[in-house]
């Protein structure tokens, strides 16, 4: 029985790691060797020409710069707004709490759609700015409800004791609530950071300058073959598709930072799955 379990786990682990091996292998394979045998995974010699090509691509650097900016600033904004919103909403005696919560819940269920969203962002003057990727999604209703539930589970007695000692609400939030919510905050930080790191579609809609493209959009344009249909049937002298090995090298360059950071943050991801689910 144990043999079966181990076999299954090993096969599953291999299935998970195989895509990474595939991408890395083809990123260092000479393109001529790929053409010769497209299913050969182990290159006969290492060729870093694909990496040399993509390091010349200016959008790679601006993509990293923009994505780092969006991730850091966006995550800090998300967390700040999350904390200062969740704490008061966790108070049962807050007047109008139910109405506010219903309004928040309503936004989770219904949305105006893409065109109204575009109008809103345009009227706010955020078109063609990185703010369009940060501000509209500054508070996630789902995360807010989770955070509210988590904060609500912190014993009232701690707050009462702080009140007796002369602390005001802000001090209670800063000195009592936030330290006790570190695990939750870390989990939300990870989720928000990953969400910002993967930012793509909003960039397509709201950004007009190429040097503002985030990393995932740069990756998509390098890897995606430019769309089919009538456009491809027109005489296009320069093929918009990049050679396969360059595409694989691009993927490696973009996912390496996440892979390096993820092992240190894995426990927070796991914790994040159960946030708000613990009852006192």
């Amino acid at each position: 029985m144990m043999v079966l379990v181990y076999t299954f786990v090993i096969l599953f682990a291999f299935a998970c790691i195989f895509p990474f091996l595939y991408v890395i292998s083809y990123s260092v394979m000479p393109y001529s060797e790929y053409l010769e045998n497209p299913v050969k995974m182990i290159p006969s010699k290492l060729d870093f020409g694909a990496y040399k090509e993509i390091l010349k691509f200016p959008l790679l650097y601006s993509g990293y710069r923009n994505t780092l900016f969006i991730t850091i600033v966006g995550t800090l904004l998300n967390l700040t707004l999350l904390i200062i919103s969740a704490y008061p909403l966790s108070k049962a005696d807050l007047k109008g709490r139910k109405i506010i919560l219903w309004m928040i819940l309503f936004t989770m269920l219904f949305s105006g759609g893409m065109i109204p969203r575009y109008y809103l962002v345009r009227e706010l003057g955020l078109i063609n700015s990185l703010g369009s990727l940060i501000l509209p999604g500054a508070i996630s209703a789902y995360n807010l409800i989770l955070m509210k539930n988590f904060v609500g589970n912190i014993p009232d007695s701690l707050e009462e004791a702080a009140l007796i000692d002369g602390a005001n609400e802000l001090q209670i939030l800063w000195r009592i609530i936030v330290p006790l919510s570190k695990a939750a905050i870390a989990s939300f930080a990870i989720m928000c950071a990953v969400n910002h790191w993967n930012s793509f579609f909003d960039a397509v809609i709201f950004l007009t300058q190429r040097d503002q493209w985030p990393l995932m959009l740069v990756l998509r344009e390098m890897v995606f073959e430019g769309g089919a249909g009538a456009i491809q049937n027109v005489v296009a002298e320069e093929d918009m598709a990049q050679t396969f090995t360059i595409q694989m090298a691009m993927i490696v360059v973009i996912i390496v930072p996440i892979i390096c950071v993820y092992p240190f943050l894995q426990k927070y991801f796991v914790t994040g799955l159960t946030i708000g689910g613990v009852k006192e």
């Binding site: 393109y31 053409l35 010769e36 497209p38 010349k56 691509f57 200016p58 959008l59 900016f69 600033v73 800090l76 904004l77 700040t80 893409m114 065109i115 109008y119 345009r122 706010l124 003057g125 955020l126 078109i127 063609n128 700015s129 990185l130 703010g131 940060i134 501000l135 800063w174 397509v204 809609i205 007009t208 300058q209 190429r210 040097d211 493209w213 959009l217 740069v218 998509r220 344009e221 390098m222 995606f224 073959e225 430019g226 769309g227 089919a228 249909g229 009538a230 456009i231 491809q232 049937n233 027109v234 005489v235 296009a236 002298e237 320069e238 093929d239 918009m240 598709a241 050679t243 396969f244």
Partner: protein, 509 residues
């Protein structure tokens, strides 16, 4: 610690406020600022270091703000831009389809019928046939300036090395092609000891995936063409499905599939995958135009492309023995001017300049000493250093000019930047033209057909699906005919009638 956090929040807030500052275009000095929305490959950068854009700005005395969304999402961004009402001054429209018609009908674009005469270079460089294409079907008015393009000469690209190995010549008839296909499938032309090669692997895309209607060089043997805007052998204008060669062509493709002379996995091909399969020595030939061999220069070593791949004319019509290619006017999209643009005249003047010889050369080959070393107009030989080629990749491409051709001729033969490549291209094109008769056909867009396609997408998907199913043997000819003649053609009858009438009228002009 508290001060540190306050500092972090303060920096963050400032960063957010600063990031909210957008880049709003406005007129700088006396030069009008023109906003252009265009589709360009991802490598091109429109930043302040783009010398090609600077040169155009100086030459045309304008300031340019170029918005180039991700090419793979261009259509999405175009739709949103049109819906938002905040149109750029010049918008590149790659297809005059029902969306274009709707936008024109809604008055989003400037009508140009009474303005063309004011711009002599536009008038001089763009033919009447091209103007017909950009007329909105609903209004009959001209709402964009066409982007004249080079003519594509359609034939096939073949692995010349395999032909030599098989001791065969490039096929010119259907029978010769069939013999070639059998040889490729059974005589191991790549010498790897396995019969794992095929003649062709279609990869043109349609509504449901891969279509068999991209093998133009084969279709010509059945008097079928890429463009149906011409009469059948009986002189009648009719839809493709009523052409004499429609069922015989599909039946021939079915035969190739049954006998394993065609790649059995063709129906899962992505767009242009046949190019990769040709380079991977999995297929012997692919349908293509004269530009496709040039395209191989970017994917395989030059010497290999020159020696191993050749471009030939399509197969002869089985009945007439002729090689005829019907070509629509060569257009690559068009440039629409926003109806509410405050710089409409400046925008048209810019496009007019780019249709002059000087502007056309500037936008196609750049500035001498910066983007190229030397240029010989008579031979179209363009010499670039490695640094200049690198600079060109970042600053311009064949997608960027307002006009690719001047008086029907391109500025240079792109991707043929050495004498050897240019010689190969010219030799093969000359060989092609010596055996092929090219005839022009109009591009007609029937309003009823546009509406039909928009309202009945499933009908066309079902047709495409059933054609593939017939080729792969899943359904019989009777089942296909039952759908085409019992369901498809009756549904399209009115639109087909209108198309035929419009083609008849166009042919008499």
């Amino acid at each position: 610690m508290k001060r540190l956090w306050i500092g972090v929040i303060g920096v963050m807030t400032s960063a957010v406020l600063l990031s909210g500052c957008g880049n709003n275009g406005n007129t700088t000095g006396e030069r009008p600022t023109i906003r252009i929305f265009t589709r360009v490959n991802a490598e091109v950068q429109f930043d302040k270091n783009n010398d090609a854009v600077k040169a155009l700005e100086d030459a045309a005395n304008v300031n340019l703000e170029i918005e180039a969304p991700p090419p793979s999402s261009y259509n999405d961004k175009l739709q949103i831009t049109m819906a938002s009402g905040d149109l750029p001054d010049i918008t590149y429209i790659f297809q005059t389809d029902n969306n274009y018609d709707t936008w024109a009908k809604n008055g989003l674009f400037l009508t140009l019928d009474d303005k063309i005469d004011q711009y002599p270079n536009i008038k001089n460089n763009i033919t009447d046939e091209l103007w017909e294409i950009v007329k909105a079907p609903s209004t009959g008015q001209i709402n964009a300036v066409p982007k004249p393009n080079i003519i594509s000469h359609y034939g096939y690209v073949v692995n010349q090395k395999w032909l030599d190995t098989l001791n065969m010549t490039a096929p010119t008839t259907l029978d010769e092609f069939y013999e070639y296909a059998k040889a490729v499938a059974t005589q191991d032309p790549d010498g790897n000891g396995a019969n794992d090669t095929y003649a062709i692997s279609p990869s043109t895309q349609n509504t449901v995936g891969t279509s068999v209607w991209g093998e133009y060089f084969l279709m010509s043997a059945f008097n079928m063409q890429q463009y149906a805007n011409r009469p059948d052998a009986d002189g009648q204008y009719k839809p493709k499905e009523k052409f004499e060669g429609y069922y015989p062509y599909l039946t021939f493709m079915r035969k190739l599939y049954e006998e394993k002379l065609m790649d059995p996995e063709f129906f899962i091909n992505k767009a242009n995958e046949s190019t990769d399969k040709l380079l991977q020595n999995r297929i012997g030939m692919m349908s293509g135009h004269d530009g496709n061999v040039k395209g191989l220069f970017g994917k395989a070593p030059t010497e290999q492309v020159i020696s191993d791949y050749s471009f030939y004319a399509p197969l002869k019509d089985q009945n007439t023995g002729e090689v005829i290619q019907y070509l629509p006017p060569a257009i690559w999209g068009c440039w629409a001017i926003a109806a509410d643009s405050k710089v409409a005249d400046a925008a048209l003047s810019l496009i007019d300049y780019c249709n002059s010889k000087e502007g056309w050369l500037l936008t196609n080959i750049g500035v001498q000493g910066v983007h190229y070393e030397s240029y010989t107009p008579e031979t179209k030989e363009l010499i670039r250093t490695e640094e200049q080629s690198e600079k060109c990749r970042k600053e311009m491409s064949s997608y960027t000019p307002f006009a690719v051709t001047y008086q029907g001729e391109p500025a240079y033969i792109s991707l043929c930047d050495t004498p050897e490549k240019l010689e190969k291209y010219n030799q093969e094109l000359e060989r092609y033209l010596s055996v092929t008769t090219e005839k022009n056909v109009p591009t007609i867009t029937s309003p009823k057909y546009i509406t039909l396609q928009a309202n009945n997408p499933d009908l066309f998907k079902k047709r495409d699906q059933m054609e593939i199913q017939y080729v792969t043997g899943e359904i019989t000819l009777e089942e296909l005919k039952s759908f085409i003649e019992g369901e498809f053609l009756p549904a399209t009858a009115e639109a087909d009638q209108e198309t035929a009438e419009m083609l008849e009228a166009a042919s008499q002009k």
